[in-house]
Amino acid sequence: MQTHRLKSAWLPLLFVAAAAAAAVDFETEIKPILSKRCLECHGPEKQKSSFRVDGRLALLAGGDSGKPAVVAGDPAKSHLMFVLRTNDPDISMPPKGDRLSAAQLALLEQWITEGAVWPGQMEAVATKPVSDHWSLRPVVRLAIPPIPARGAVDAFLLAELTKQGLGFSKPAEPRALLRRASVTLTGLLPTAERADRFVADHARDADAAYRALVEELLASPHFGERWAQHWLDVIRWAETNGSEANLYRKNAWIYRDYVVRAFNTDLPYDRFIREQLAGDQLGAGDATGFLVAGPHVPAATVGQEPTAIRQARADRLDEVMQTLGASVLGLTVSCARCHNHKFDPISIKDYYSLTAVFQGVEFGGRRPELAPEHPRQQRAEELHRQVQARRAQLRDRLGVWSEDWGGYSEFHFPARQTQALRVEFASNYVSVDELEVFGPADQGRNLALAAAGTSLVGDQAMAQLRGEIAKANDGKFGTEGWKARAEKGAKTRPWVEIRFPHPQEVDRFRLSSNREYYFETDYLAGEGGGQLPPFRLLSQRPDGTWQEIGDTAALGRKVKADPLLRQADEALQGLIADLNEEGPRHSFVGRFIQPVDTRVLLRGSPETPGDAVPPAGFAVLGGDLDLDSSAPESVRRLRFAAWLTRPEHPLTARVMVNRLWHHVFGAGLVVTAADFGKAGMTPSHPALLDFLASEFTAPSRPGAQPWGVKDLLRTLVLSDAFRQDSAPSAEGLRRDAGSALLWRFPPRRVEAEVIRDSVLLASGKLDRSVGGRGFRIHDVKKTYAQWQVTDNHGPQTWRRMLYQERMRRVDDKIFTAFDFPDCGQVSAKRAISTTPLQALNLMNSDFIVEQARFVAEEAVKGAAPSDHAAQVRNGFRLLLGRDPSAAELAASVEVARESGLPVVCRALINSNEFGFLP
């Protein structure tokens, strides 16, 4: 929002100077045009497109388009002249009546050329944008209301409740409290044993028992899983691209594991944000999965039209903006993509300045940069040591050996000095995207690169269209490679000579057919990463003759024939497979490219680029990062991340504490958790929100970690507000029907994950292992096919639902119906709806039928075969964490007798109580 400080001082000199040019007179020639044709919609009455013509500064500022309407001295750059002249019916002005006459246009143009002189307003200076919107003002820590209360949170809440003549409800009964705390903090219902223990402890010392419970839950490895799920929801993270082919994003899940670990280790929130924006620079390369969490359209589906390619890139950057806006900023940033934000002080220039920060980010994968202490890196070190030990064995026994690294193959041999290597393939056709040679001096330096002066020579007659041999040492992996074919029955098959610029010591040869495809795609029919034919490797003697180093086919036969060798080879391959699974490897966590200049895209279109903008945060929040468009890619993200996580940033802490509150109490203090702008809601308890934000960044407890998520959650769940009963009261309902003031704990429905995980927990089938590759429920498909769900209930799916591969817009045929997000748009909170499909899925799916049987099997344990009452009681305890009432027992025993215990368990799983957070 532009504010104008108008100075009323009359500046006769300037005016006279302009007038001396003997030209347009503003008062008599220009003002009448503006008044007659523009002022009705762009003046004191109406400000369509947030634009006014009744002041010089307003003209210079322009409206929602983000372009200045008038650039003094330059009519060509003046948007006013453009809209007056264009024939585009969407933007041409005036919208009604005749167009301006040629004479009028000429007058306006001359007036602008002469400096757009507006008598009396020539000294007015536009100030930088300011806003008095609550969320953009600094956080202010107010005194805690002097009300007797357990803690500050309760005091702030009671202050509002007492105004309505309300107070907290009585404390919740222990089983309800246990269920509530367990689901809130870990997403899992308590086991029957834990419930008994808690009830007993609670009877002795309610407060101590509850505090111990909270500590136990915060320390549980399942805590991170629960809160990761919330975070992944907001940024609509998924393991497929979306769009037509909806391809799998290989190894994207290492980001999911990062988020789980961040919550479990209580990584300070500011660090969490910095790593997600620039983890590649901070030893947490897996964290940048955040940047590419949104969907994108891959190149093949974009098509070949240059306009479509540019649009697709702009769309991808906008996905980054949406992720950042919804999760960290709490602002609908994308609203400023085509014009200045309608509600908030974000200009179109701000939007594109922010895209400049991420101009070097591209959707795709890379090998993540991990700090030495990163668990994945540590595991890799350990495996590397074992690989070396196994290699030593093979070196001793064989001298030469092959290794299959999935994306590429390696051939190891004793080090030798040579000026050239020769590879002779044992098949008529070969396709190689890259071949590499390494030596003992530097195991990471590829000596075969053309850039290192090495040249490749092959048989010209075998060359294939667009398969030039130089593509095999250009340093680029992917579909573009060297392709050679020999005639059928020809004596000579494809070969290549690798000629170094000078003799080199070499001991390892690596080649691949389409490494990128292997790294990037998964679960596609007919894609094995490309098979390479056997080959013979030779080195050149100083006299120019060739000496064989090894022959992979012969080597394979030798290994196969010797049990000891075979065992050593298999052990090595096993280690390599482990390393590929558990070490750092190419993963869909974004890749980085050379940033191009960023320009404002007028009306959001890449076809109408405007002024160049530097990387920056929002002007209204002092977002100048002191960078220009030459700034290195990573510096942009690092500096922006630092700006965003300043403790005094008015949004970052507020948005996060509100998010935590939302997931604890079911609704945020600001209900529109992803919109803290003017179109969002104002906080129900502004002082409390600011108190929590301030406590988050600067905790008052001595020694407490700033930005500590667990600390903040502890404060919330230890409050009386959280510990109170959820039953309705007539007075509460009368004064605050929505329970927003928290006169009771607002009960609510649990999410899809809680239902599924808790069923598995009750049946004793839940595999509680944390992290790693997710489980699959779908088929292996052709590139452009839709995913088909093939197994959504088998034993490999008996993990927490967080580990079900998150596929955009794939219906899992059970729990998607429970408002599981389709990961297309950002989602600060899930809808809660009720549909008959939910009922059908929870009554009839294979998953439920099987699990009901398993729960029944658990319930039978420890009960006499004929003791239906004991079995039913066990079933209630496993699923509902309580004993049945006498009436429930009688009815259930009758069902168990007639239909079997599984049918009782099926009913319990479907009961409202099971899916309800009391």
């Binding site: 179109a679 809601m681 929505g738 009960p747 839709q786 045929k813 408002d819 939910q838 009554m843 309800f916």
Partner: protein, 502 residues
């Protein structure tokens, strides 16, 4: 312009899903609390609740216990139900309904103005229509021999020849046509309509998506999803061959087991509800179990085509032609039965993603269009025409609107390969028929080659706004608050096309 918590819409209060007591005894409100709830459920009001506001959102009055109950339209509706026949892959308008004699004159030439590159790559020369055009019916409308059965009904159709879209890629095009946005994750047309209007038949889903026998279209579930609207309003997908997932009683249980499950469940829920008598969400959940039980009867019933007489089966082509055509014909029969039963929105797909099928999966025809369009037309033409004629005969077109559509058109010139036509986002044809629209009418024109829409250009927004209008809905006021914005099917664009209305 912060939302004043006191500015609440009276409509839609019942969609406070849980903890909603407003329907009980006119309780006073702790303003902020209610506002929070409204926002949570996407019901932030901008119209301040004043009666007869001339603008601003109109919230549907949704009873959470009966989310599909019929609701009042914004104004009297010409059409109560809608049947969308969606043809994925892009039907060539210049080979079907948009007659362009200039193509014959310029056949084989490449006049200046033909772009060098289109979606799939380099372009070739102009090609005359691959099928002959003939005048049809009283109106004399020129349509091609590719779709003779549909051509015979031209007097009933209201063609729009001046459509244009925002993208030349299929999935984005499908998204744009069906949800108003090229990106994924927005509510589909059917979701918007059922959110606004509910449905007349409480035994069947309000919105049914009948997928092609070969599978889902390229945008999959996004074409009939609920996006950020409550999941209640997503399309339920099944076709003549495959019932909805988990509809049938599991083989592990007997009917008696099912009954006992339901009885025990009812008892458990009744006891629980006593503790939370105010909670409408709990009551709603109980109601959906009853509805699910009824669906277990009604859906197999509507899917059972065996009662259809031989003459009807023959007319639809259930017994003749290729396997794919026979399967699609059954889907057409199913569509009619659903419309007959009062289902609000039926979306019938004629084509899938490009992986299924038997040499042909949808209308996409980059090479050998002569063969591929013919194969696809063999599947679509007779059954679709029979469906429309059948609906008309039964008087169902009095209250049902038919929308035949595709995501974009095809180019008047060939691709570099010389046998196929590339994507054309700048001109394509769809038609409407039935309730509320003109008959034997053609609106708008593309240029003399069919390359670009030029006369009375109609955007997809305009087209969707018109369908909503026919259903009695104002596309500018049917909105849902999501993530900072009042979202619409038509984004911030579009005007309904008055000329199409009867």
């Amino acid at each position: 312009m912060s939302f004043d918590p006191l500015h609440l819409s009276p409509q839609g209060r019942a969609l406070l899903s849980r903890r909603n007591f407003l329907h009980q005894a006119g309780l006073t409100l702790g303003g902020v609390g209610l506002a929070k709830l409204l926002a949570m459920d996407g019901l932030l009001a901008a119209d301040t609740g004043r009666p007869a506001a001339a603008s601003g959102p109109i919230r549907p009055d949704i009873d959470p216990r009966r989310p599909y109950a019929p609701r009042k339209a914004h104004f009297p509706a010409a059409a109560e139900q809608v049947l969308i026949i969606y043809c994925p892959g892009a039907v060539s308008h210049v080979d079907t309904f948009d007659y362009k004699p200039a193509l014959t004159r310029y056949h084989g030439q490449k006049p200046p103005g033909v772009p060098a590159v289109t979606f799939e790559g380099p372009t070739g020369s102009i090609a005359k229509p691959f099928w002959e055009f003939k005048p049809r019916g009283q109106s004399g409308k020129m349509t091609s021999e590719l779709l003779p059965h549909l051509g015979a009904l031209a007097d009933d159709f209201c063609f729009v020849h001046s459509l244009h879209t925002q993208t030349s890629a299929h999935p984005q095009g499908e998204n744009f046509f069906n949800t108003g946005f090229t990106a994924e994750g927005y509510p589909s047309f059917g979701a918007w309509v059922t959110y606004a209007l509910g449905t007349a038949n409480s035994e069947l889903p309000a919105f049914v998506a009948i997928n092609d026998p070969r599978g889902m279209a390229r945008s999959g579930k996004n074409n009939f999803g609920s996006g950020f609207l409550p999941a209640s309003f997503q399309g339920t997908d099944f076709n003549a061959k495959h019932p909805p997932a988990n509809l049938a009683r599991p083989s592990a249980y007997t009917p008696a087991d099912d009954r006992r499950t339901s009885d025990l469940l009812a008892r458990l829920n009744a006891g629980h509800l006593e503790r939370f008598p105010d909670d409408n969400d709990l009551a709603a959940r109980i109601a959906t179990y009853e509805l699910a039980g009824r669906m277990q009867m009604s859906v197999p019933d509507v899917m059972d085509l065996s009662s259809e007489p031989a003459s009807i089966r023959q007319e639809y082509g259930v017994e003749s032609g290729t396997e794919l055509k026979r399967e699609y014909a059954k889907n057409c029969l199913l569509a009619r039965r659903l419309i007959e039963k009062g289902v609000r929105v039926v979306q019938l797909f004629n084509g899938s993603d490009p992986s299924g099928g038997n040499g042909i999966t949808n209308w996409d025809s980059h090479s050998d269009i002569l063969k591929t369009h013919a194969m696809q037309a063999e599947i679509m033409d007779q059954p679709t025409a029979a469906l429309i004629a059948d609906l008309k005969r039964r008087g169902l077109l009095e209250k049902t609107l038919i929308v035949w559509c595709t995501e974009f058109g095809r180019m008047p010139f060939l691709q570099g390969n010389g046998t196929g036509r590339d994507h054309n986002p700048d001109a394509f044809t769809c038609f409407l028929a039935g309730a509320g629209v003109k008959k034997g009418f053609s609106y708008g024109e593309s240029d003399e080659f069919g390359a670009k829409a030029v006369v009375n250009k109609a955007s997809v927004y305009d087209f969707n706004a018109t369908i909503l209008r026919l259903m009695g809905l104002d596309h500018e006021r049917l909105t849902y608050y999501h993530n900072g914005l009042e979202r619409r099917l038509t984004n911030v664009h579009g005007h309904y096309i008055k000329d199409l209305l009867a």
